[in-house]
């Protein structure tokens, strides 16, 4: 079993096509949509948690790529500007997945980007604006 959080960039010509349901039907994959939108340039962006058997997962990814979908691991999406972070901890209770957590000993805030689902709740509430979105 593989389970990964990935960011899909759909080019304009694919925005109106049923791509994700193919992953379910033909590759037996499960998905959870964390975020989806179409940009003003009519490109689609979708953040998925995708899981399934290893071989099928890889085939599914190959299918997406053959269609022209660009795939990024999610951890590249929300990043922390370490120079700006003051380790206050306002973000900690706002983060729904525990990707931002305070170390009980050092009292520094850790950012576990593998837990981040790119909901971006932290981005606007961070007082020194240390959390940034990068696609």
């Amino acid at each position: 079993m593989i389970s990964k959080r990935i960011v899909l960039h759909f080019p304009h010509r694919l925005v109106d096509q049923p791509i994700i349901c193919k992953l379910v039907k033909d590759y037996d994959l499960q998905f959870n949509i964390l975020k989806a939108y179409v940009t003003p340039q009519e490109e689609g962006l979708m953040v998925l948690e995708l899981s399934g058997e290893d071989a099928k997962f890889n085939k599914g990814i190959e299918y997406l790529q053959s269609k022209g979908v660009k795939i990024q691991p999610l951890s590249q999406d929300v990043i922390r500007n370490e120079a700006k972070c003051t380790d206050c901890g306002v973000c900690v209770p706002i983060c729904p997945t525990g990707a931002l957590a305070i170390d009980p000993l050092t009292r520094k805030v850790h950012f576990y980007d593998n837990k981040c689902i790119a909901c971006e709740l932290c981005v606007k509430i961070c007082p020194p604006r240390a959390m940034e979105v990068r696609f």
Partner: protein, 400 residues
């Protein structure tokens, strides 16, 4: 037991025993108050949190020909500054924002840039755009000035904060069914989170609850440089309820502080944006507490478990000035990451950075140990718990 003069003599000799407000807790637990008080000369404290009543004044020097900005207008990087002083003296407030900022028109506003950010950039040594207009006089004929300014060229650059270093603060929650955006951060509906703002056992005024050593003239760590307590801060309220250990259970004393911005460092003066609320400056302050007797040391050794704060609803009670609180919790509970309010366990977040507070207390300790920082005798006491000095609400009267 010992005087500040004696402590300073020991600092100069390099033999003073200096510990942080965290270290003294362990030391007292191990050795007891009496022994610890005999051994320790100074306890250092620290705090690093948003302090809206911050600002800085500058004397920019006279231009050729001269301009009288006093009574005119002036902006630094588009942020308006106060000009009601003499010709080239201006005051920049931390919460000031550019005229064209959308504010909260598209709610919640982001407030990405304001006075606090300008202060941080000035301290960082960046060039700042100054634009001023004046009405022109015989002695100050110039009507317009546009120039870059840099902190190293200004005559005076002084941080002057009229209310900082709050002695304890509320824990903010939201009882309503929609998210609210406050100066205590974003509060999720139905007790979704609880935000607090204090360094607790490291916080200066919590370690000297009756202001026995901290007073007017006390030399402090301010924004990475040296500053002084100038006065009691605005809204100073020493008469609130206290626990048996003397520690206020609600927002109480405050400090007005002043210091040379030219010595300060941008990592201790951080421009801060509160979504839907505004801009503020996060300030690092450290205060040394001289261990003059056992009683002072006993107070300085108070720990998180013994310091209580009030949990206040910021959806109704706070804005509508409804007195009272939902419950009280101590800082050990707050720092555990969860507190219980009305039977519900809710996650906590801190606006004030405990790790930075620790860094400040450590840095102040190292200054004192190296002999770079001598203690001052306070010149006058702050109004204390028995003074009757209280925080009054506005008495609104209709204008007829």
């Amino acid at each position: 037991m010992r005087t500040i003069k004696e402590i300073n003599a020991r600092i100069k000799k390099g033999v003073a025993v200096v510990v942080t407000a965290e270290e003294i807790i362990d030391l007292v637990q191990k050795k007891g108050v009496k022994k610890a008080a005999q051994e320790v000369d100074v306890v250092t404290t620290g705090t690093f949190g948003p302090m809206c009543s911050s600002g800085a004044y500058f004397n920019i020097g006279h231009s050729r020909p001269r301009i009288k900005i006093g009574g005119g207008t002036c902006r630094l990087n588009d942020v308006p500054v106060y000009t009601g002083f003499a010709a080239v003296d201006i005051y920049l407030g931390a919460t000031a924002i550019p005229d064209d900022d959308p504010r909260n028109k598209v709610f919640p506003g982001e407030f990405k840039y304001g006075g606090a950010h300008v202060i941080q950039e000035i301290v960082a040594g960046k060039d700042i755009r100054l634009e001023a207009t004046a009405y022109g006089t015989d002695c100050y004929p110039r009507k317009k000035l546009e120039t870059l300014v840099n902190i190293k060229d200004l005559n005076e650059a002084v941080l002057f904060n009229i209310r900082n270093c709050y002695q304890n603060y509320n824990v903010a929650v939201n009882l309503s069914d929609k998210i609210i955006y406050t100066y205590m951060g974003a509060l999720k509906p139905k007790l979704g989170n609880a935000n607090y703002c204090s360094a607790g056992q490291l916080s200066p005024l919590l370690k000297d609850p009756y202001y026995k050593t901290i007073g007017i003239g006390t030399k402090i760590f301010l924004g990475g440089g040296i500053g002084y307590v100038a006065w009691q801060g605005t809204q100073h309220n020493p008469t609130v309820k206290r626990k048996d250990n003397g520690i206020p259970q609600a927002p109480a004393g405050t400090l007005a502080v002043i210091g040379d911005l030219k010595q300060m460092r941008q990592e201790f003066l951080v421009g801060t944006s509160m979504l839907g609320y505004g801009v503020t400056l996060t300030v690092g302050i450290g205060v040394p507490i001289p261990v003059l007797d056992e009683e002072i040391l006993k107070y300085a050794a108070a720990k998180d478990e013994e310091i209580y704060a009030q949990v206040v609803d910021y959806s109704q009670a706070y804005p509508q000035m409804v007195p009272g609180s939902l419950t009280e919790v101590n800082y050990a509970q707050l720092k555990s990451g969860k507190i219980k309010v009305e039977g519900k366990e809710i996650p906590t977040g801190n606006l004030s950075s405990y790790s930075k507070a620790r860094e400040i207390a450590e840095e102040l300790k190292s200054w004192i140990k190296k002999g770079d920082f001598l203690l001052t005798e306070s010149q006058a006491a702050l109004p204390g718990a028995e003074s009757g000095y209280t925080f009054k609400l506005l008495k609104e009267r209709p204008i007829v």
